[in-house]
Point group: C2
Chain length 139, copies 2
């Protein structure tokens, strides 16, 4: 709080990985081929609230240049034409790679959080009571 006029270090709205936007798009398209606007609405389910549309469309085109997705136009009878995307084989491989990286990332987040919980507990509970014993589950 206070004045956020400082510099960076501003509270990030999520704590989500870099390139998580791309990873999310890969997953959503893998589930069902879709167009940008559709993905824009779905993507909040994966933690990306307030995604800016420009960035999303931009990401999709970069991913197409990189050969992860392929697109085609769909001229629906109602509403503007839409550019739909499906995964390429390379895109599928990248999705697997991303899933692996994110799973690893989650492990490290758990390590972080259990260390954090430890110092918070030690800090607010200096009494040597018998509570909380044998809870060393660190996934």
């Amino acid at each position: 709080m206070k004045q956020p006029t400082r510099t960076s270090t501003e509270e990030p709205q999520g704590g989500l990985p870099r390139n998580y936007l791309r990873a999310s798009l890969l997953l959503l398209i893998a589930e069902t081929p879709a167009h940008g606007y559709d993905l824009l609405e779905q993507i909040a389910q994966l933690g990306l609230r307030n995604v800016d549309p420009g960035g999303l469309y931009r990401a999709l085109r970069v991913m197409e240049q990189d050969g992860l997705v392929a697109s085609w136009w769909e001229h629906s009878t109602a509403g503007p034409a839409r550019r739909s995307y499906r995964l390429t084989e390379e895109g599928v491989e990248w999705l697997h790679a991303w899933a692996g990286a994110l799973r690893e990332g989650r492990r490290y987040l758990s390590a972080y959080l259990s260390r954090y919980d430890r110092i918070v507990d030690d800090d607010s509970d200096p009494a040597p009571s018998a509570r909380k014993e044998g809870l060393e589950i660190i996934p």
Copy 2:
């Protein structure tokens, strides 16, 4: 694989959040006040392998400018002088904020991964066998 000459989308070495370096430094310093080089060696435990020293020292000084940490010189008898860091009260608040953000991030990673697992399972197991029922554990 292939030629990574493309542009971005390069396999990131971790899938960890932006600013995770800062968050990790806050945690480690909260555990024990330390100097940069020390932190450089410890930080791999939290998932940051091959951290570049320059970036770490830079991050520490930015955090000091932002008032999250405070530093002092320690002139040890052996070896070069070292600048040690401790958390300020504001730093502690930020640590709590970060822990909250990372916990939320982990929830979304789990959502991502369970959706991923679902499409992988559906894909490699089209037989309507009775295996895997009632396993909706989403931590």
